[in-house]
Symmetry: C2
Subunit: 166 residues, 2 copies
Amino acid sequence: MDWKEGKEKFIQAWGALGTEWGVNRTMAQVHALLMISPYSLSADEIMEDLQISRGNANMNIRALMDWGLVYKELRPGDRKEYFIGEKDMWKVVRQIIINRKKKELEPMLKVLDEISGVTEDCDEAISLAKTVNDIKMFSSKADSTLDKLIKADSNWFVGTFMKMIK
Amino acid sequence: MDWKEGKEKFIQAWGALGTEWGVNRTMAQVHALLMISPYSLSADEIMEDLQISRGNANMNIRALMDWGLVYKELRPGDRKEYFIGEKDMWKVVRQIIINRKKKELEPMLKVLDEISGVTEDCDEAISLAKTVNDIKMFSSKADSTLDKLIKADSNWFVGTFMKMIK
DNA sequence: TGTAACTTTCAGTAAGTTCTGAAACTTTTA
DNA sequence: TAAAAGTTTCAGAACTTACTGAAAGTTACA
């Protein structure tokens, strides 16, 4: 297999994975492209490579910068903006966790707290309260674990996880 | 807040969370409904409660049974099928991990292996190979961790994770 | 300050996903 | 074995999300 074919496959696979995780396909593909590119690319190069429109490219590059997975790079003497992808897998995963946690876990915990106000004494209310409580316990545990994970560095992760799964 | 309002909110929130994780809204809502219901429900009751069609209810109940999150329950002397949701949060999370792992992680690893065939000696090929390798290392680590997690029981999880994050 | 180079926005359209409802199928029981 | 009760399937409709392309907005230089 030559690298062009490999690149093609990689971008496809990453895009598909993104879709299943609620990330839009193009955003994941732009990310894949920048992750494997040894140098920064301009919006035009990205558009050309993935065959997408300027608007689409712009919006997804922006989203990736918001997520902290892509950075702007300015080349002296060139007015174009170039973009470079985060290459460190650990940082990539970390950024994704940070973003999803904020967007999903925290709102969920908020709703659960509100529901804790239910205190009637019928089967339904009791069952609801129990489920809500279980989820709360589980998620606050997950939440603090993720917090530690986020603060920890890559080596810590490798070391501790390896020990833990032995 | 009375339990009906709480139930309503819970189903909404669980549905929204599902959407963000690539699970369809109705499937997540049916799951939420069954999770907090103290007794099993028939397809008709689910349709009525969530205001959805028979076809929709049927397809999503089936999907939940495939995922191992909902079971069929037969009441003696009644020809209707009743459904009961898995109540143990730990099992719910486990089942979800098992299913997503199979559907997503494994295909990704397969593609990465294929791409490992790229061995040219230009910048592009080297950068691609490096990224692919990093992801492979990361995912096989994640994979084996998840395997242990799946095999472990709830108490183990609580204990080890708590130790780990201290 | 004018204009060229580049970036951002957004209304309309395309693509993709989920839902409905009715028909086909299966099972049970009289 | 007929028909009643229940379940499954699926084509098309409804809805949701993503993309295009052109116009508006910025910035940078002469």
